[in-house]
């Protein structure tokens, strides 16, 4: 294939006690793609995300991001490599406002150094203003602007998913890992989510890897689609190919697409 690879996973293992959650898993995400990651429950998809983002160290194997080895780095270093991830069960900062949830994200904030809050207030305020403007823009984009001063914890499930996407936009990432962004999101919000992801991919050339159970969303949005089963890659192809793949049907789709 001609395209450059963005994220390369090579023979990664991760077990919990005796359970091999991820087992000799290798896969490749191309730059600029929206790659779908599907597979039955317990296939190890979320664990793979946790290994990529440094929440767990892999037992074995290597992970490369833009050609650079990143396995074993702690989460905040992964963020600095410009990888952002969202969570299957959303993890907003509940007792902070929606706006604060977004303003937290950008890195290199002058005001994160305590000395600067006392001795360089001008610089802190100036940057804070810019961050706030950007956050408001993003909230406008995902249409959460009316809720900006509400506690993030008080949003609905679907709105929380949008908030996670909004936070990823604050990070200026090169790559975003979305863990079931569509779960619990109603149809209208879902359409918006799909539009937003596509727009971000095209306009900001962000690469997406997304886990999803909603087949409409996957077939609509993702290319290629990677199927995981029992901790490793089972198949990869265009949505059409995956739909027709016998092995996949057996392992996962259970015939509903036959």
């Amino acid at each position: 294939m001609a395209e450059k690879s963005m994220l390369e996973i090579k023979e990664v293992d991760k077990s919990f006690g005796g359970l091999m959650a991820v087992c000799n898993c290798s896969l490749d995400v191309k730059e600029g793609s929206i790659t779908g990651l599907i597979g039955p429950n317990g296939a190890g998809k979320t664990t793979l995300f946790n290994v990529i983002t440094g929440h767990y160290k892999p037992d074995k194997g290597k992970i490369f991001f833009q050609g650079e080895e990143i396995n074993g780095l702690p989460p905040h270093h992964i963020f600095k490599k410009k990888i952002y991830r969202t969570f299957q069960i959303t993890r907003e900062f509940a007792q902070m406002t929606v706006l604060e949830n977004l303003m937290l994200i950008p890195e290199h904030q002058v005001g994160e150094k305590i000395w600067n809050t006392w001795f360089r207030q001008g610089a802190v305020k100036k940057q804070e203003k810019a961050i706030k403007e950007k956050a408001l823009e993003v909230l406008e984009f995902v249409e959460l602007i009316d809720l900006k001063d509400e506690y993030a914890g008080s949003l609905s499930g679907g709105q929380k998913k949008l908030l996670e996407l909004a936070r990823s936009m604050m990070a200026d990432p090169r790559m975003v890992l979305l863990d079931e962004p569509g779960a619990g999101v109603n149809r209208t919000l879902m359409g918006k989510l799909i539009d937003n992801i596509r727009k971000l991919c095209e306009e900001k050339s962000i690469t997406f890897l997304l886990i999803e159970h909603d087949m409409d969303l996957v077939m609509n949005l993702c290319n290629p689609v990677i199927v995981m089963s029992e901790g490793k890659k089972l198949a990869e192809g265009t949505p059409e190919e995956i739909k027709r793949n016998k092995k996949v049907l057996e392992a996962y789709l259970g015939g509903q697409y036959r």
Partner: protein
């Protein structure tokens, strides 16, 4: 009681409440904003008081040296005592943080609890260090001699309130800024904060150190108020428990609440001493425990009916731009 005596009484009450407010502000940084569970405030109280005492008193000489053991005494000004207390407590916070802040929350709780008792026992048992259970006396007070000794407490009240307000402003500024936003994010969800690029250990450490330094200042202010200190003051009840009750009552996550809680609870605490005076003779010996029982019940009531305290956390905290 005639009026003058009553006012003098109120002044002494306000001094102690303001000193406790300083501790509450320190705890609020750690618990209210960062979720760090420090249940050994008494340790920082103790070390702050002793540090300032040793820095500001002279080493006993002549006949005194036979009665008072003190490993050193530098005879430096009050301000140096305060800063020294802050520095030493900051270092202790740092040392406690290294092994505990990477582990689960409860380890910090265990470590602070244990170390607080350890400090108290060291000062109690090691006579060569700071005169053992008899403690140190004759601490200097700032701005002595401006007014007659009888009215000195007015001056000290002003000194304490100014220092408290200064600390309040320092904390407010930091909390309203991105620094405080990171702390609150860590309190809300550590994993999410680290995936958002924040170095959790680093920020927790800063919060622990800053809070400990503030507590050190509180300890020093106490020592120079009473002018004499001994280890039996720094018990878990007076040094830790009551400060937690104050913060819970005033409003964890709100610096104004921390101060308010200190004043209200200290007022109630003193009030209960009048109440226990009315007790029959046989129960009087147990009065302190009855008072703590009352405070404990009060805490339960607060936690049930108003868990956010009198002043809860404001909805929008990062409002640097609105100032």
């Amino acid at each position: 009681m005639e009026l003058g005596g009553f006012i003098a009484y109120l002044v002494s009450l306000a001094i102690m409440a303001s000193i406790y407010a300083v501790f509450c502000l320190g705890l609020n940084i750690q618990w209210g904003y960062t979720g760090l569970f420090n249940i050994g405030i008494a340790g920082f109280f103790c070390v702050g008081a002793y540090t300032s005492a040793m820095l500001t008193t002279p080493k006993p000489t002549g006949i005194y040296a036979q009665y008072v053991n003190q490993i050193f005494g530098l005879n430096l000004p009050f301000v140096v005592g305060l800063l020294g207390a802050a520095a030493v407590c900051g270092i202790i916070g740092f040392l406690i943080g290294i092994p505990t802040l990477k582990l689960r929350e409860d380890y910090l709780a265990i470590a602070t609890l244990g170390i607080a008792e350890t400090f108290r026992l060291i000062f109690n048992n090691e006579h060569w260090l700071a005169n053992g259970p008899r403690g140190l006396m004759g601490l200097p007070q700032p701005l002595q001699g401006i007014v007659s000794a009888k009215h000195y407490n007015y001056i000290y009240l002003i000194v304490v309130v100014i220092i408290m307000l200064f600390i309040y402003l320092l904390i407010e500024r930091a909390i309203r800024s991105p620094w405080g936003r990171v702390l609150r994010a860590i309190r809300e969800d550590e994993i999410s904060a680290s995936m958002s690029g924040k170095d959790i250990f680093h920020f927790k450490m800063q919060s622990l150190i800053f809070g400990s330094m503030v507590m050190g200042v509180g300890g020093a202010l106490y020592a120079h108020y009473t002018k004499s200190i001994s280890p039996d003051v720094f018990t878990p009840l007076y040094g830790t428990f009551i400060i937690w009750v104050m913060l819970m009552a005033g409003g964890s996550g709100n610096n104004k609440g921390a101060i308010l809680g200190a004043y209200v609870i200290w007022g109630i605490w003193i009030g209960t001493s009048f109440m226990t005076d009315l007790l029959p003779y046989t129960l009087k010996a147990r009065a302190p425990y009855i008072r703590f029982l009352l405070i404990g019940i009060l805490l339960e009531i607060i936690l049930i009916y108003r868990p956010q305290g009198m002043l809860g956390e404001e909805k929008r905290v990062s409002k640097l731009l609105e100032e």
